[in-house]
Amino acid sequence: MGALAALGGIALVFGLASHRVLEEWNPFNVANLAFGMAALAGALATGLRRWRATRHHADSGPILEAALMALALSWGAILVQLAAAVAGPHFDWTFERRYALAPATQELLAELTEPLTLTLYYSAGDPRRRATRLLLEEIARSRGDVTRERVLDDFSEEEDYYGIGSSNSVVLELGGEWELVERPSEGSLYEALSLLARPKQQIAYATVGAGEGNLERSDDSGFTGLRAALETEGYELRPLPTARIDQIPADADLVLVVAPQRRLSDTALSALRRYLDPALNPARDPDLSGDVTRGGSLVAFLEPGVQSGVEEVLAEFGIRSADSLIVDPSSGAVAGDAPGLSLVAQSYSDHPVARNLNRNRMTFFRRARSFTLWKPQPADRLQPIVFAGGDSWLSEAPLEVGHRSAPEPPLHVARDYQPIAVAGSYERGGRNTRIVAFGDSDFASNRYLRALYNLDLLVNAVHWATERESAITLRPKAGRLLQFPVPIQRSLNALYGIGLLVPELLVMAGAWVWLRRRSA
């Protein structure tokens, strides 16, 4: 019986393997499969006959009992395993917490009302497939969404339709719309899903014409990352040429001023004033209904050493910014700049913008100016958001970029937590105006936007300014890869010390046992 079963098993393996290699049915694999199944059936029949024979001769009770118990236990274990596969706990033990979804991703998934389909297209043998697949399963798990896998070339029509050009690409489908992600990570999938799930609801105007940061430039000093991040969050960005405007467009939900290097025209500054204070705006009647509706929203990034006129507008709203540089002795030299000028901020107020930030969730600024706050009207609410370290002081002397030595503090200099970012909320003409000002723009540039928690601070500030507090969250981080060198000499020493010593001792023990047994 055993020999027949073994022969049948071997024939089945050969038959299936032959079909797999040749991808067609031929006499060889058909004969093998037929013989294999017949042999296994024969072995089974023989086994049953023998079992019946023994049943007549002996008490079959214990066998039946053992078989029933084995069946019951096995089915019980399988059911528990299946239940765990559907809803069981799992733990992400990767260094970069690769499979633990960020709060923003979880919140976005919770917002979806339609089923989501995630399809992975891959080439056979692509080693990235498993990691991508596990990530997709994590995303699909919370709502029971569908994940699918397609081998490239087997679905050429779909490849052409979606424009898939490389293995390890993911297509997200939601409500008849789709997005292609070619380098899937939680961040890129989140961005694609945001574009599908959150149609652009808000219009943001970014001032141009006074040397502002370029939102179309993709190198390190450009701001395409800022643009992409805001588009992901549902903002449509439009340019606002300050030389040609006498008022902010009526459909503006937000005005962005990204580090102008020259003074804005007086007309543009007046337009900005009227936008922020509807009482000054003759074209926009003040709301006299008693309900406070939304007014202007401004997010401004200022650079030290520049007087663009925006500082004057901010000062009228209680945000004064002296032309000085924050020096934090606790910060080191970064990217060739002098020590003390690159600020790693870890102190935050309890303002909504900083809701999820704490000492361990730091933000990075480079050459920032500080602010002082005062209340133009008693009902105004002004508050710092982010502070430099407690020993920070303000340097009035201009320092050129590339200056290598740390600035020297003057005698009796005042040291304190210097505000790097501030926020103000005002009621003007029956409308609620909100302003957020940052004393630096580098932190939002392509080079530093994804450093630490800069992106979260920035996007959360925009959400607060446009009164979308519910969207304030933490977004997926780019994977922190384990790329530190492991000292090879130390590894070699460990190999000789432990890696080879342990096997040597085991061989010695084995030899000793064997020799003792021989001599016994």
């Binding site: 055993g2 073994a6 098993g9 393996v13 299936l16 797999r20 991808e23 023994t54 002996a58 008490d59 079959s60 214990p62 066998i63 053992a66 118990m69 084995a70 069946l71 236990l73 096995s74 274990a77 399988i78 395993q81 765990a84 596969a85 069981g88 706990p89 799992h90 733990f91 992400d92 033990w93 990767t94 260094f95 690769r98 499979y99 990691a131 596990l134 081998v151 994977g479 890869l481 384990l482 790329q483 530190f484 060198p485 492991v486 130390r490 590894s491 460990a494 190999l495 010390g497 432990i498 890696g499 080879l500 342990v502 096997p503 061989v507 084995g510 030899a511 046992v513 064997w514 047994r517």
Partner: protein, 263 residues
């Protein structure tokens, strides 16, 4: 309990008075050390080539993403060790029941005051403990090598857990094969064959429908073991190997009952 412990003690003594256990432990420890060191050396080499001054230095982001501890060390080491332990484990499990049967001592055991369930429990427990010992010995070097960096230990622990679970899965198959034959060679060869067949049904996905493919994947060893190498520890994967152990225990118990009836 005393009887089960006595049988376990006897099994441990039998195991460690045979040179096979030491050979298996040595083989796995040595190959793990060499495989891990070789991947670590390759990783360091690639890291320094891409971070060399001619490529721009460490601060210039010239190191490609695919060179990292996870993709260059943990994943390939895990895959290689997963295949490697297919060979030594059957050498341990082949004797557990087959030797008793060939020497005729199984009849003594079956007529003792131990029930077949207790015999299964004792023999399975000792074999599984040996698997844990084998993987612990083999992971002394990887842990000490990674400890110098201080990072990635948790991921390495997931890798270790995955290999222990896979070892338990293979041992379960091996114990079933050993219970149905009196030849240790047949038990070992059958274990390798069955494990190889069950290891990964991925090659069949090309000619079965999606539903069948999902079932085949659910019963394959490799997908459950592979998640550990990615650093993801899921209760369902641990339970999968637990199910294998329970099913194997049940089948072996039936074989012992049949043996008792056959005489």
């Amino acid at each position: 309990v005393t009887a089960v412990l006595a049988l376990m003690r006897k099994e441990v003594t039998l195991l460690f008075t045979s040179p096979v256990a030491y050979l298996v432990l040595t083989m796995v420890a040595l190959l793990t050390s060499i495989t891990f060191f070789e991947h670590l050396r390759l990783y360091n080499h690639q890291l320094f080539v891409f971070a060399s001054s001619s490529m721009g230095g460490f601060e210039s982001d010239t190191i490609p993403d695919y060179i990292n501890l996870r993709d260059t060390v943990f994943l390939p080491v895990m895959e290689q060790l997963g295949v490697l332990i297919l060979l030594p484990i059957p050498l341990v499990t082949m004797r557990v029941f087959a030797e008793e049967r060939s020497l005729g001592t199984d009849e003594l055991l079956l007529t003792s005051f131990l029930s077949p369930g207790q015999i299964v429990l004792a023999k399975f427990a000792v074999t599984y403990l040996f698997i844990v010992l084998m993987m612990s010995v083999s992971f002394i070097y990887p842990v000490s090598a990674i400890l110098s960096g201080g990072l990635g230990l948790q991921h390495l622990l997931a890798v270790y857990l995955g290999l222990v679970m896979l070892g338990i899965g293979i041992a379960s198959i091996g114990l079933v094969c050993s219970a149905f034959t009196s030849s240790q060679i047949i038990a070992a060869v059958t274990t390798v064959g069955v494990t190889y067949l069950l290891y990964d049904f991925g090659w069949m996905f090309g000619f079965v429908d999606e539903g069948t493919a999902a079932v085949l994947e659910a019963i394959s060893l490799h997908p459950h073991f592979g998640r550990f190498s990615e650093g993801l520890v899921a209760l369902s994967d641990i339970l999968y190997f637990g199910v294998l152990a329970v099913v194997a225990g049940g089948v072996v118990r039936i074989s012992l009952e049949l043996r008792r009836v056959d005489g």
